[in-house]
Symmetry: C2
Subunit: 701 residues, 2 copies
């Protein structure tokens, strides 16, 4: 390590910002990265001596910090087999070496058909990242690379390897030995350590690392240096968010007596949810609103109220924060828009607001938020009229205003599940995703966490928090701005900075976060999670009234998703055979039509679903219910009973047949704990996501 420090300091002292190939490899070798055998020399006798010691064939390269792109400059001679050839090569390279004040590097020629690229770079958002890719021209053409945020451990490194499209190349292949993944993992871990322990190293390229007898060997390497920048990534430690989610008393600043106004709706919401704490209303006009006394100013309020909801124009917010603090209010929610998301004067106002927050030490949600929900406290700061909000076990952290508005209305009216905490972060001047995630990780009322983010304020703190959260409860994230255009819209929306999506992808995988790509899955997956246990594995049984559906759904499971459709245990199969016409061979997936024809819809579906729920080979059951007048509409209680009898496996229902019966079934089943899905494919897509959550929970700590 001392050697590395000396090399770096020496280079920086002499004004170099890159290390030459020889010293780059010295640095790597000091961190246990295997490098090619090589010697540096200035003259021909030295080169001949080196080649003799290394053994022919050898490679000659001009080596100096000014010649980073040797191959393009034609400053490399490979496959030199004899002393004569060495002399020719040396003489050809000598003038260029002298001109560049560079030495000549004599390397043992490494033979191997597989090459990798390893590297480290510092991402503006996530900081140092480690990269692994398939080498040669294919890195560039196929972009077959994987990123992780440094530091990484050997498990991360192995995940990077398995993530490569060409990961098969790392196994034994065409008579070539399998790559020693332990050594390769060590190399990647070392790159992460180098980044963390030497902030002056800006970038590292190992290109290529050849695989020789299964061992990766750095054949060329480049270390780029820069003055270390201090990255103040960690947010200041803060007061806990208890008073945001469980306030004992709340003041609405800007309460209104006019129905339809935000200052009126917020009060109605609080009353509709039976908030048990004290509620104070403030409006310069005084009087009464909804039967409650109105204070004319904040100064009139009693001391020590826990939280204030500020429903005032943007420009009033900085002073209001100070006024609140003066009465001992330590937590505020700012509803107003018109800040940085709008224009430059909004940006200035946002800066003023931030100063007020810093000066007072008040904890602030928003501005530009439609509020938050905390059903365990019977509380919401939303100004969109929602009425009583059903309690549930999933929580949302959302970088958008619409969660506590029409989206909540959609959840309540269409999906029949409740929520624990919902936070619309708005412009997240103070309270942001990392702290909220830490809070929800410890929150006993929250059993699963969904996030919609367009930017990440403190990326490394966030990854640490996500990594802890994902091992405790399902953590599912939709990242807005995954495409360049999407990122464009994100900037317009919340002044978000989109990090390179590939790095985000690696970072989220590393943390165990399950990434989704569809907005509607924020609700479909939450519904499934709210109502049913997580599947313990990815083995699914399903039944449908059509062989074509069975074929297409099997295709979907295997082709698009990572779900298995295994055979039933023999006793399950026999049982199903008993209830089926003898000429049908019953198996998984189950064609329900023959049995339904013989024994009726309810009996046939009941048996098929029970078979899957009871079978040890199966982790989850999906059934496509056929609902038509002619084939008969069952009483749906048999499904509720089955779910109760087998509480450890998820059961999802979807439909074919008549729309009106589907709607009735949905309206009956969902409030009774059985999630249903409009499209038959949705149930499987949701199951696939939840299997990934289960894997996240199982990750080693």
């Amino acid at each position: 390590m001392e050697q590395v420090r000396q090399i770096i300091e020496g280079a920086l002292a002499s004004g170099q910002n890159i290390l030459d190939e020889y010293h780059s490899k010295k640095v790597l070798a000091a961190y246990d990265v295997p490098v090619v055998s090589e010697r540096l020399t200035a003259d021909l006798p030295g080169a001949l001596d080196a080649a003799g010691k290394l053994g022919f064939p050898v490679v000659l390269k001009v080596c100096g910090s000014a010649v980073a792109h040797k191959t393009e400059l034609n400053l490399v001679e490979t496959n030199i087999a004899t002393p004569e050839a060495l002399e020719n090569a040396f003489n050809r390279l000598r003038p260029a070496a002298e001109e560049a004040k560079a030495a000549i590097l004599v390397q043992k020629m490494v033979s191997g058909k597989r090459e990798l690229v390893l590297g480290m770079s510092r991402d503006p958002v996530f900081g140092p990242c480690v990269m692994l890719g398939l080498g040669g021209i294919f890195t560039e053409v196929l972009s077959d690379v994987s990123f992780r945020v440094a530091p990484i451990d050997p498990d991360d490194a192995r995940e990077m390897m398995s993530e490569l499209k060409a990961s098969r190349l790392l196994g034994p292949f065409r008579g070539m030995a399998a790559v020693d993944t332990e050594v390769l993992a060590r190399c990647l871990v070392s790159l992460g350590r180098l980044a963390v322990e030497h902030p002056e190293i800006k970038e590292i390229d190992i290109n290529p690392a050849m695989i020789e007898d299964g061992r990766p060997v750095a054949v060329d390497a480049l270390v780029v240096l820069a003055k270390a920048e201090s990255a103040p990534d960690e947010a200041p430690s803060k007061e806990k968010l208890h008073k945001l989610f469980s306030p004992g008393s709340v003041a609405v600043i800007g309460a209104s007596s006019t129905p339809g106004k935000s200052g009126n709706d917020v009060v109605k919401n609080i009353l509709a949810n039976d908030f048990a704490g004290e509620l104070f209303l403030v409006n310069p006009r005084g009087g009464e609103i909804l039967g409650k006394k109105v204070y004319k100013s904040i100064a009139e309020l009693p001391e020590g109220i826990d939280q204030a909801i500020i429903i005032l124009p943007a420009k009033a917010n900085p002073q209001t924060i100070r006024d609140c603090k003066a009465r001992g209010i330590g937590t505020v929610v700012m509803a107003a828009g018109g800040f940085a998301e709008v224009d430059d004067s909004g940006l200035a106002l946002q800066q003023e607001t931030l100063e007020a927050i810093r000066e007072t030490g008040v904890r602030a949600l928003g501005p530009n938020t439609s509020g938050h929900i905390s059903t365990p406290a019977n509380y919401t700061s939303s100004f969109f009229p929602l009425g009583p909000i059903p309690k549930g076990t999933v929580s949302y952290i959302a970088q958008t205003g619409n969660f506590a508005t029409h989206t909540m209305r959609y959840i309540m009216s269409a999906e029949h599940y409740g929520v624990a905490r919902v936070i619309g972060m708005g412009n997240k001047l103070d309270i942001e995703e990392s702290e909220l995630l830490e809070y929800l990780t410890e929150d006993p009322e929250t059993l699963a966490i969904f996030m919609y983010l367009e930017s990440i304020k403190y990326p490394r703190r966030f990854l640490k928090a996500a990594s802890l959260a994902a091992r405790k409860k399902p953590l599912i994230m939709l990242k807005g701005g995954a495409s360049p255009e999407g990122a464009g819209a994100a900037v317009a929306h919340t002044a978000a900075l989109a990090a390179d999506d590939r790095i985000i992808d690696g970072a989220l995988k590393q943390a165990g976060v399950v990434r989704i790509y569809k907005y509607s899955q924020l609700f479909q997956v939450a519904k499934a999670l709210s109502r049913m246990p997580l599947p313990k594995g990815n083995r699914v049984s399903f039944s449908a009234p059509s062989g074509a559906m069975l074929v297409c759904l099997t295709d979907l499971c295997r082709r698009e998703l990572d779900l298995q459709v295994p055979q039933f245990a023999e006793h399950t199969r026999e049982r199903l055979q008993d209830i089926s016409p003898p000429y049908i061979r019953m198996r998984n997936p189950v064609d329900i039509w023959p049995a339904a024809t013989v024994s009726g819809v309810e009996f046939a579906y009941g048996e098929a679903i029970a078979a899957g729920l009871a079978d040890p080979n199966i982790d989850a059951v999906v059934s496509v219910l056929m609902l038509t007048d002619e084939t008969g509409i069952p009483s749906y209680d048999f499904l509720v009973d089955l779910a109760r009898k087998y509480p450890d496996k998820p059961l999802y229902i979807t439909f074919s047949g008549q729309k009106e019966h589907m709607e009735t079934a949905k309206a009956y089943l969902e409030p009774r704990g059985i999630p249903t899905f409009h499209l038959i494919e949705e149930a499987f897509e949701v199951l696939d996501i939840l299997c990934r959550c289960q894997k996240g929970l199982n990750r080693p700590v």
Copy 2:
């Protein structure tokens, strides 16, 4: 060509089933495929002479029909730079050459960093196929290959190139010249011609073809021979299907007076659809059914009825076919199951039925079909009670019984569109997909064709038919059995033979068929096609009440789909700016919330949608309607009016907010011609599929 014939005949005559490398390349060269310069020799002086003429460096290979895997057998010496090295190499290879009774091939050493694999193989389903892949170990690891069915034209060849994941490698790359795609296309076309003109050629491998100065050169090649098999792929030419779809008179054999029985429901269906032709019922009991006279036997029927629907047990079908023919009935629909899909005795029965069909020349649909629908003739043979079936412009060819049953019920009750022809093919003993496709291509009532197939009976005829159809109307296909497990289920379902999915994929692309992978898209896409014009391009405008939705939908368009989200023309933008609060910069996609707040939901949405429909930069418009009591429920007529005003661009609606309003809007809008979608992503997925249809229509003939 004569030379090729001689080489092949000579080899076959001497009992060889592979051509040695030298003669393999002679065959290729005769078809204009560039091959490496090379000479065949038996002794060292000959080798030295050859090398002198070719120029060093050269390659030596043992060359004989018994040494197909030279590299693995270590029978190749590369990069030979001097006569001395040549002598050493020759002496090393000589014993192996003598043992194998082989000669020595002297080749000019080809240098180039890019290598391709080209080939031809005969697929058991589609016959000869041409293959192009990225060479080296990456063919195997990444499976970066593309197939087409021979013969191919240069357009097909270019499509194959662009389909490679690493297609960028074919362009100018890292200082290397772009690959001469004209020459490469010619090579691929030649492989197809070789396959067609020389049925004795079973397989061809060109591995590798090196790219030298941008030109592909066959460096190694292998031609495998086999006795040509005659493949009787074409179906016998048959009578047209007019009487299947437009019968003037129909007999139901096995009509029943018992409600709920198939023989009763089929009669009710025919009556409910106001079939204008004559209807005859046959049942040994005689009497009346639903007020119609019942004949006691087929023999009693008048002569010359157009079509018979046979609702009798499986075993009665062969004789019934003969009885029908005896009364001049030329077309039958067989409803019974219990044939090859069940067991061996069913298979025997199916064979008997096939004999009856052949013997009589009767045209037969089924067996094991739930029937077909032909709304232009007010006719259906379905025995699933459907009532009046709405008329429409899309037709379905389905290899499953459920289309004319609960699936039709779903379409009618949930998706609000009608159909033209629907054919459940069942076991397709006689009438199959190719002939049906040819019929629907010419059918003026059918404006778009959807297919669900698990197997293809006459693959090459099918491709020809599909190729013609796809240029005339949208042709969309779901192929069941795309995964190995799906194929397993397909075998169980209809005794289908699954062809290699990659070849199917290439063949369908070649024909211009748009392949889909989700069952539910058979209906969502059909709904959109039934109600709206095809988009002329892939540029979409959309509006939503949430910035987060805009971001996520933009991500979806660019990341998962091939849709563009371009900017509006300036005058459109200005108009939108006028109706919006000044601090919002209006653009595509449109955040509707600010304008809706200022001007009301109906006005804001109306303006945003009209902007997209009128804008020359936009091909299609999607709007996420916000429907909540508080923000106001518009009268949906403004959407109907907009669609009427801009009939040339598709408009799709999807929702956020309250479920009950969404359902009301759907029920109002869809019968009035505006398709709606349950999930916001669905509208975009459908649009993407229809853009691919538009491309299919534009393919050169």
